[in-house]
Symmetry: C2
Subunit: 329 residues, 2 copies
């Protein structure tokens, strides 16, 4: 029932404390999400596309994003994390095995493909020409889009962990089918994750340590961060009960920064304890033969980048010296 990193609602209304470091922001009572989107476009940081949540990123946007990722690289190297990479499409049975469709069916993207013959292909061309739907001529393939960057990692961990567990890191494209005009809510975005496997104690201690480190890393970038317990966006009538349970157990924390709203700051980083949610279906065992637990953290790379533009302005060359020293060492 875990969405993995950065699953939470982006704008929590229950953030306990939010402070603003930048006096410029205090001139405005509330931010306007549309104005922020338009400003990103006007400053050539993003390029609009016809479908919501799929805009292009400019070279300047990407440079900031990559430099932020390199900052996290250095932390991950210090922790001796194992670096991996996976494509944005994953084995469909991964989401089937871990109950993703029970909790988040509305966010999933399944890949359908064409396996017909010439006459069916001609039918597709004809329908496209007439502006008619053609999805019924496709079939479900063996792959889906990764709903979180960490999902492809779990099946590769099947077996027995070393004594001290494992720590994996990757930057991956995640897909969520939630078209929105609001720039921080994308259909496709990158998450930098670290994933810890081991005993319950190892995973909890790691998550709590990184909760502090992650927040500190963002504070050093001059971002006005706040932290709060959070819940994943569970589907349907049972969703609220699931979310309440997740919050009561304090399984998920988020670090939030005002990006499109002052009163409803955006989750830019999340810290998640999965218990045995992935260890059980993927048969991951600790060195002493128990079912392994896992925890993960995820930096929403586009959101962190937008938080920097919101806080320090649209021109990175004019950002405060202390911030630039972090990103341009």
């Amino acid at each position: 029932m875990e969405l993995g990193a950065l699953g939470g609602r982006s704008a929590l209304t229950n953030a306990r404390s939010v402070f603003f470091a930048n006096p410029r922001e205090n001139n405005v009572t509330e931010y306007d999400p549309k104005k922020f989107y338009d400003d990103l476009v006007a400053h050539k940081l993003i390029y609009p596309t016809a479908v919501k949540g799929t805009f292009g990123r400019s070279g300047v946007f990407e440079d900031v994003l990559n430099r932020l990722n390199q900052l996290i690289d250095r932390e991950a190297h210090a922790d001796q994390a194992e670096f991996v990479q996976f494509p944005p499409v994953i084995d469909r049975t991964i989401i089937e095995k871990c109950g993703f469709m029970d909790s988040f069916p509305h966010l999933m993207g399944a890949i359908f493909s064409f396996a017909g013959r010439d006459k069916h292909a001609l039918e597709i061309s004809s329908r496209i020409g007439k502006g008619e739907p053609w999805g019924d001529l496709l079939g479900m393939s063996e792959v889906v889009l990764a709903p979180a960057a960490c999902y492809p990692v779990y099946p590769t961990m099947t077996g027995t962990l070393p004594e001290k567990g494992k720590l994996i890191t990757l930057t991956g494209w995640a897909f969520r089918h939630e078209p929105s005009d609001e720039p921080t809510r994308m259909q496709s975005f990158r998450v930098r994750e670290l994933i810890r496997f081991g005993t319950p104690d190892m995973c909890l201690a790691w998550r709590d340590e990184w909760h502090v480190r992650g927040q500190s890393l963002l504070e050093k970038l001059g971002l006005p961060v706040a932290s709060d317990v959070a819940a994943d966006p569970f589907f349907g009538r049972g969703g609220k009960i699931m979310a309440d349970g997740q919050k009561a157990q304090k399984l998920k924390f988020e670090v939030l920064v005002p990006v499109i709203s002052k009163t409803e700051p955006t989750a830019v980083c999340s810290f998640n304890y999965h218990t045995d949610h992935f260890g059980k279906p993927f048969e991951i065992l600790t060195a002493d033969g128990q079912i392994a637990h896992s925890a993960c953290l995820g930096f929403g790379m586009e959101r962190c980048t937008m938080a920097l533009f919101r806080t320090h302005g649209f021109d990175p060359e004019k950002w405060p010296k202390a911030v630039r020293e972090q990103l341009y060492p």
Copy 2:
């Protein structure tokens, strides 16, 4: 009718000249694709997954791939190319507009999502529990996977180009639904592209100049390259005629390196002249009001990386000094 960069069959039987720089390779009459895959796994360069063509890449693999990309960055900077980034999913109407489904329906991946209510979601969970198909409960969304990294760029170019045209560059994930056991044929892979917009003369001259530069860049990495005219993998009975036409017009060239076969080298880079195939549907005009032409080139990043491992061995620290000087400047 253009697939864009790296559309060709990976293993051309009609390569005119293939030479081998590395004496180690000459000991073997022919390569074994399965052994190469197993060697990549044994050296912890790729991690197997349950679905063909979706394997994980290790930190060492990624480091080589990124360094190669940085090498191309330097060339792109010298050319004053504009850097952009797009997500792996794109507006479905892009592939509808440029006739992709007429030519390559078998390679396409369309994203289907769920928009039902609680009872339909429960039905999905129930079917997954029973191991039954559940694709009929999903509907076609407004996005598809990018079949080539350059596709999202075209609609952003609508309008009139500057006098000297435009040059764009990006690294993107491309999807092709062609599951294969063979390591160089992936369902999802990265292509580093440069895309030139302008008059026919500008585009042809650029493509031909880069054909030489691209080949030279790979030769400096010690790769035993060959070059040949090529065709995209057109679908169906009419496909051969399309491919013959494309070859006769010399629209596509590929640079090939032996990776899984000595006699059928793998296309690692392609150079494509699109004529007005994209300029027309996306209404891109030259400064003097003509329909713009375009050309693109694409380095298959995983394939180039694998070509390096094939040619120089599985440990980058032991690669020849001249090769390392290029990648680790």
